[in-house]
């Protein structure tokens, strides 16, 4: 994998923007001139199913990762159709976050190119590691503003033996009841009167749970990935009020707090705080990396 070549393309001066497959919505400004557009290295370097780790270039399409890991009954909990680097830099989870956890917990180690064109490695190669500060967390959801991810080691996870969607009529009290009694559902999606549920695990357990709690089978998720233009991030406790007050159809991830919405979320912060400004000053003082990306989004 040509990490040095990538670092050279990022270079030491000028404004540079990084692109994957542009499959995710990223708010950009047109007020900044971009000298160069770069793409991260692509390809799987190493895959160790018995370590539950895969090493790949950040430019590797998620499709390739899925194909490689599927051969060993594993997957990587990164959503969408773009690249590994895109999923990490944007940091938005998939609708099964309740079951598989947030994007940030997937990243074990990252090598990124900093504003001086230098390669920096953060995190560690093993599934467990507390050596030094956890800088890998900072890269997830940073939209490339601290550096451009070149190569990563990701945690893989076993694909469940079975995975099925169900639904049921549900007011909020029924939602709460099911949220309490179902054991680790992979997704609970509520639109105000229907609850869609994904259960992962042993097929007999899934059948038993669906019988016991009166769930009807359904095919797939209740909405398509790109059906909603906005995703609100709210405290899970706010979900019922937000769903009830929505003027257009919405789907909320119960127990997580993501609400898939057609309108933008009001009152997002919009400016970096003091620690973030200092981090930006340390990691990209000239603001040459992805300066066109509105941050925070």
């Amino acid at each position: 994998m040509d990490l040095t070549g990538f670092a050279e393309r990022v270079g030491t001066s000028g404004t540079v923007s990084i692109r994957g497959r542009s499959s995710r919505t990223v708010e950009r400004t047109v007020n900044v001139d971009i000298d160069r557009v770069v793409t991260a290295p692509n390809g799987v370097v190493e895959y160790h199913p018995d370590e539950m780790t895969i090493t790949c270039g950040a430019g590797t399409p998620l499709e390739s990762i899925r194909n490689v890991t599927a051969e060993n009954g594993q997957s990587v909990a990164l959503p969408g159709s773009g690249t590994v680097g895109g999923a990490l830099s944007v940091g938005r989870s998939g609708i099964d976050r309740l079951g598989v956890g947030p994007v940030r917990d997937t990243l074990l180690q990252a090598t990124f190119v900093d504003h001086r064109g230098e390669l920096i490695t953060v995190g560690g190669p093993t599934v467990k590691n507390v050596s030094g500060f956890d800088l890998a967390r900072l890269l997830v959801g940073s939209f490339g503003r601290l550096g451009f991810i070149a190569r990563v080691i990701l945690r893989t996870r076993p694909v469940p033996r079975a995975s099925s969607w169900f639904e049921t009529d549900a007011d909020w009290s029924r939602v709460v009841e099911l949220q309490t009694v179902l054991y680790r559902p992979a997704a609970l999606l509520w639109n105000g009167d229907r609850l869609a549920i994904r259960l992962d695990g042993d097929p007999d357990d899934i059948a038993e749970s669906s019988r016991r709690f009166g769930l009807s089978p359904r095919t797939g998720a209740p909405f398509a990935e790109n059906e909603f233009t906005h995703r609100w991030s709210v405290a899970p406790i706010e979900v019922p009020a937000i769903v009830r007050s929505a003027r257009a159809p919405v789907w909320a991830e119960v127990g997580v707090g993501i609400v898939h919405h057609v309108e933008p979320q009001p009152s997002r912060r919009g400016t970096p705080n003091r620690i973030e400004l200092r981090l930006l000053d340390e990691f990209d003082p000239d603001r040459r990396l992805n300066p066109d990306v509105v941050f925070p989004q």
């Binding site: 976050r97 230098e118 507390v130 956890d134 357990d205 993501i258």
Partner: protein, 476 residues
């Protein structure tokens, strides 16, 4: 130059009621649970956010370093104060502030004990627990878990502390109070919460923690497999993971450890085994049956002699007691121990264990291995009698070789104890100078003053002070 100590004390006592200066009492805070001795100056026990802000602001005004600590169970010297630093002991801030059992989160103060949090849930009738379960969980605090990004046997399936902390209220070194992260899943901006967890007290002081709570599993099956070779045990671990299972826990003990534990807890461990594996599978009934059956099958394929399944909660508790009290059991062999903590790729476990036995033999020491095999997290326990002349040198030399062997095998310096002072000067085994500079830059961004727990984690070239006092017991 700092002003005379008296002004500092006078200023301190203006805003915090518990200030301790008695030399005998203060000396109890000279170290954590590591062998590294430091020197505490004054000890304060704040009881509120306002008191923490006052203490930190006062330290800032006087240019005094401070070290936050909980129960002091850390093993890497992270909470060892150097050169008379002020110790901020947070054990009096120990309230569970709120619990949302439906969304499974709770706000707690940093001094809440790890196990008390799960007990609190049980007492409230909630079928929930706090997943990180370090062996010290009866006495370690949630704040300490945050500082060290603590693990434990059950972190194999559920992740270490970072995966169980949603938000933090933090007092920065200038006294400013910030909230990092949030109950919402994707707060705007950088994941400062994630960076703070595991920062070993060097980014600020957490005064409130929003933790994620985990459902108690409806079915638990605990199994003990025994082997006549360590390699068979280690290969079983790799095969279980490769077969698509992530058991709730996957722990291993070697022969000397089995012997010590058995004499201590009488759990019926096979005294002639080279290794035992403690495997716990949890979940819904059918899933647990299927996994347990598969684990047994894999064990047999790797020549497991017996496969014992705990019949009831009492037997399960006994097997776990054996695992969790292993460190107490060693006292029967030698009066002192030094517990190490490195991680290696699972597939390298057999060869690294062999190497550890060779290293320890070379230094004429004894080692017990009891560790989180599922995630390759080794815990070689060197046992010795420190009254034996020259033994400490051998212990440190062997320790250094073990750390180097682990990193050389593609592993890391620490899986859960952290870097602190113990492994500070080994950071360059894993990180380049530029990598370490980046870590120092993050530290500066959180704490430009450098007063929060100075001289830890980052090796000397990356720190800036003129105090480079290296306490006895550090591996320098």
């Amino acid at each position: 130059m700092t002003r005379p100590a008296d002004d500092f004390i006078v200023d301190l006592t203006r805003g915090v009621s518990h200030v301790h200066r008695n030399p005998i009492e203060v000396s109890l805070f000279d170290h954590d649970a590591s062998t590294i001795e430091g020197r505490a100056g004054v000890v304060v026990y704040p009881t509120s956010l306002d008191e923490v802000v006052h203490v930190v602001t006062t330290c800032n005004r006087h240019g005094r370093p401070f070290v936050a600590r909980g129960a002091g169970t850390g093993l890497a010297g992270g909470a060892t104060p150097l050169d008379g630093a002020l110790v901020i002991c947070l054990t009096k801030m120990n309230r569970v502030l709120s619990v949302d059992p439906v969304n499974r989160l709770a706000w707690v103060e940093p001094g809440v004990l790890n196990l008390d949090l799960s007990r609190h849930m049980a007492a409230m009738g909630h079928d929930l627990h706090f997943a990180p379960d370090p062996s010290s969980q009866q006495s370690c605090t949630v704040g300490g878990n945050v500082a060290n990004n603590s693990g434990g046997p059950h972190c194999l399936a559920d992740g270490v502390t970072s995966a169980h902390v949603l938000a933090l209220e933090v007092v920065l070194s200038d006294g400013q109070v910030v909230v990092l992260g949030g109950e919402e899943p994707e707060p705007d901006g950088l994941d400062l919460r994630g960076a703070f967890v595991g920062s070993e007290g060097m980014f600020g002081i957490a005064t409130k923690v929003c933790v994620r709570l985990t459902q108690n599993p409806p079915t638990v099956r605990t199994m003990l497999l025994d082997f006549t070779s360590v390699r068979d045990g280690a290969d079983t671990v790799s095969s279980i993971i490769a077969a698509g299972m992530v058991p709730a826990a996957l722990e291993m003990m070697d022969a000397l450890c089995i012997e010590a534990v058995e004499q201590y807890v009488h759990a019926g461990l096979p005294l002639d085994a080279a290794a035992v594996l403690l495997v716990e599978v949890t979940g819904l009934a059918h899933d647990v049956d299927a996994q347990a059956e598969r684990v047994a099958e894999i064990g047999r394929e790797h020549r497991a002699r017996t496969i014992r399944v705990a019949r009831d909660e009492a037997e399960r508790a006994l097997l776990w007691k054996g695992r969790k009290t292993a460190f107490g059991a060693v006292a029967r062999i030698k009066p002192n121990y030094y517990l190490h903590d490195t991680v290696v790729p699972r597939r390298r476990l057999p060869e690294v264990l062999d190497e550890i036995y060779r290293i320890v033999d070379r230094h004429d020491l004894l080692v017990l291995n009891v560790f989180h095999a599922g995630d390759g997290n080794l815990h070689p326990l060197l046992v010795f009698d420190k009254r034996e002349p020259g033994v400490m040198e051998r212990v440190h030399a062997a320790g250094e070789e073990i750390v180097r062997a682990s990193v050389a095998a593609g592993g890391v310096l620490s899986g859960e104890h952290g870097i602190g002072l113990e492994k500070r000067d080994y950071m360059s085994l894993m990180f380049s100078e530029l990598d370490l500079e980046a870590q120092a830059a993050v530290r500066r961004s959180f704490d430009p003053s450098g007063l929060a727990n100075p001289f830890k984690v980052l090796p000397s070239p990356a720190s800036c002070g003129d105090v480079q006092h290296v306490p006895e017991g550090a591996w320098i």
